[in-house]
């Protein structure tokens, strides 16, 4: 104990939390890696966007949230779903298109949602989650429940007008929103710097929204900043923004050959490696880290096996689900 303190001077009280980050990031990494192989093996149809390299962002931000807080995510939303507390079997059942999935196999990866944990959905529309978070924040505010809504967007969405409308109304109405920009440098197949001329810190300032801009490869730093911002939001009810510079380690979607990719946010590190070195410096043994990672792998594998054994989603009954009111409008 004394040795740890002498070497790196970490706050030992933080250690359980840091180990928890380690575990959560490994779970997300493992989830995404397994999805990559399942996709390559043809077990998942459609397209999936993985958040490998951006785990610290999801884990760090969600560490600041409570169950009653809500989050509206993007097409790259697996990390947010898991970090917000979605059960892994429920998650995989959905991604594999099973009847017992959270969305009965109708959303798959790109729209995955779990209302029970305040996950308002990944979104197939770039910028689509922003207004949902605004509305959710309005509901929190009117109910006076003290909850915060998180509006996730990628750097590509800076070019969507809806971001500007969202920042304006959030500031104007003093809504409890945390805007989170995962800036991985890419807008699909174009470098964002080639398609965007604005500067996010300046934009936030223009709307009078306090913001933080930091590397997204350090989970502890992300959690600290997000925690302070969320506390501030809970304090005065006004919105905040956090921009996290991350690295999209894989392609835009699985199967992306990335021929367009010549330069990159090369100085961004793998957040998992980053965090492991911190933990080692803090005196955690490599064996302990490996053990936690192994346990995470086991947890993911178990959930995946449950999901594989699920019942395939079925067109039977699907027509009756178009409306919340039963039998509202059924043609033919």
């Amino acid at each position: 104990m004394r040795k740890q303190k002498a070497e790196s001077g970490p706050d030992t009280a933080q250690l359980p939390r840091w180990l928890d980050f380690h575990r959560s990031m490994h779970i997300i990494r493992q989830v995404e890696s397994r999805l990559a192989t399942l996709f390559a093996d043809g077990e998942i149809p459609g397209f999936i966007h993985l958040s490998i390299g951006q785990e610290a962002s999801a884990v760090g931000v969600c560490a600041a949230l409570e169950l009653a807080d809500t989050i509206a995510s993007t097409h790259r939303g697996h990390g947010h779903a898991v970090a917000k507390g979605m059960a892994l079997d429920r998650f995989f059942l959905e991604i594999l298109g099973k009847d017992e999935g959270a969305c009965r196999g109708r959303s798959g990866s790109m729209h995955i949602a779990d209302m029970g944990v305040g996950m308002l959905g990944a979104n197939g529309i770039v910028g689509g989650g922003l207004p949902l978070a605004i509305g959710s924040a309005l509901a929190h505010k009117l109910k006076g429940n003290g909850a915060v809504a998180v509006a996730c967007f990628g750097d590509g969405a800076m070019a969507e007008g809806i971001l500007h409308e969202a920042l304006n109304i959030a500031s104007l109405w003093k809504l409890p929103v945390l805007f989170v920009c995962d800036n991985n440098g890419w807008s699909e197949f174009s470098a964002t710097k080639d398609v965007i001329s604005l500067d996010l810190p300046q934009l936030a300032r223009a709307f009078g929204i306090a913001s933080r801009h930091l590397r997204g490869d350090d989970v502890v730093a992300v959690a600290e900043a997000a925690g302070q911002l969320v506390d501030a939001i809970r304090g005065d009810g006004a919105p905040r923004l956090i921009e996290l510079h991350t690295r999209r380690i894989r392609g835009h979607f699985e199967g992306d050959a990335q021929r367009y990719r010549h330069d990159d946010a090369a100085d961004r590190e793998d957040p998992l490696v980053n965090h492991e070195s911190r933990l080692l410096r803090a005196g955690v043994t490599p064996e302990r880290l490996a053990e936690i990672a192994e346990a995470a792998r086991g947890e993911v594998e178990a959930a995946l096996q449950i999901a594989r054994a699920g019942r395939a989603a079925c067109a039977v009954g699907a027509l009756d689900a178009v409306y919340a009111q039963r039998g509202a409008a059924r043609y033919g």
Binding site: R311, A312, C314, A315, V316, G317, A318, L319
Partner: protein
């Protein structure tokens, strides 16, 4: 009796036939023939077929000499048949020399078709009900279109010419006639799919009473989870009991009766099938319990189990899917495919629109085991049980 000039056309002798070769004329130009005489021999790569005269008459001119290949529905000869109305290939009693060929756009040299009678749907319905030939009615609508009022005026002006139409058949419960596939006449039985002659038939079933019954039974203790499919299976079991000939399979030795009633269930998602064993004489509770006891669909075995059932059932209840036509494979007698329930309006007894709940059932069968009559009877039995579930439960 005045004869009618017309065309002898190349018949369509099989589903895949597009053309045939004139192998031999057995009746020369100018020669008379009697009903049933062989006129010409047609060859395809599969068979040789003798075309018989549907009625007596005379060959006026041979248009396709021997050795010539002629597309289906194109003329082989001009002929005059005794006492036949001018249009068509058919004889007096309506039996055609070959299955009626679909009338593709008429080549220019055929006699022009009769002018079409232009009438509104309601006028047609009114005329059909009153037995009025629309060709005799003058239309007062745009370009002479016959309207319902024109038919009514005609009927009141000339009551003597009107004869009541035959009682209309209830359209919903009438099984569509089975169509055996003529391209596959009884070959040697093998396991190969294409080698099994298939027969398809379809019926529409009104299930309002069935749905009502299901809802009522779900309030009974022990039947809360009663699914529609249990009632479908029960109706099929009762129908097999009523028509034991349906419960046979084809083996190299021919048709073999199955001593007990097993029903296969095909999962819609293609995961394979499961078999409900020995349902003969069992009631709804037992059938429902047997279905509930089945493992999850995904763990169902691959199709083609060791001891397959003669009759297999699949359904798309609760979905928009219509019936799927599944070909029967070796070891199966028939597949019953139930489509999703749908609502539609049909006229009630008074001709007023009434909302009905229907589903469609398709029968695909091995044509060596099911002839058209058995298919009709079997489907009619299922239809009756489903439309009147009291009978189903009482039987």
């Amino acid at each position: 009796m005045a004869g009618a000039a017309g065309m002898l056309l190349m018949p369509k002798l099989g589903l895949t036939m597009t053309e045939g070769e004139v192998s031999q004329w057995l009746c020369a130009a100018g020669a008379r023939f009697a009903k049933g005489d062989t006129l010409v021999v047609i060859e395809t790569d599969k068979i040789a077929h003798e075309v018989e005269a549907p009625a007596s008459g005379v060959i006026d001119e041979i248009l396709a000499p021997e050795g010539q290949t002629v597309a289906v529905s194109l003329p082989l000869a001009r002929w005059t048949l005794d006492g036949v109305s001018p249009s068509g290939n058919a004889g007096e009693d309506g039996e055609a020399p070959a299955p009626a060929a679909p009338q593709s756009p008429a080549p220019a040299f055929l006699p022009p078709p009769e002018p079409r009678v232009v009438a509104t749907p309601l006028a047609r319905r009114t005329a059909a009900a009153a037995g009025i030939d629309l060709a005799r009615v003058t239309g007062s609508g745009p370009k002479g279109r016959i309207k319902a009022a024109d038919v009514e005026r005609f009927a009141s002006d000339s009551p003597a010419t009107v004869s009541p139409a035959p009682a209309p058949q209830a359209p919903a419960s009438e099984p569509v006639r089975g169509v055996p596939d003529p391209a596959l006449p009884g070959q040697a039985p093998t396991g190969h799919l294409a080698a099994i002659p298939q027969l398809h038939a379809i019926a529409e079933v009104e299930i309002s009473k069935l749905l009502e019954m299901q809802a009522r039974m779900q309030s009974v203790r022990g039947l809360e989870a009663l699914e529609l499919v249990s009632l479908l299976v029960l109706a099929v079991v009762r129908s097999i009991e009523a028509h034991p000939a349906s419960n046979r399979i084809w083996t190299p030795e021919g048709a073999v009766a199955i001593p007990r009633i097993d029903i296969g269930l095909l999962s819609g998602a293609g995961h394979g099938d499961a078999i409900l064993r020995d349902l003969g004489g069992r009631g709804l509770g037992a059938v429902s319990a047997a279905i509930a006891a089945l493992p999850d669909r995904e763990s169902w075995g691959p199709s083609g189990q060791a001891d397959p059932s003669a009759i297999t059932l699949q359904h798309a209840l609760g979905s928009a899917a219509d019936i799927l036509h599944m070909p029967v494979v070796a070891g199966q007698a028939a597949i019953l495919s139930f489509g999703g329930e749908h609502s539609l309006f049909r006229p009630d007894d008074e001709g007023l629109p009434a909302l009905r709940h229907e589903l469609r059932v398709g029968l695909s069968a091995d044509a060596r085991l099911f002839d058209v009559a058995l298919a009709d009877l079997f489907l009619a039995s299922i239809t009756r049980f489903l439309e009147d579930p009291l009978v189903l439960l009482a039987t």
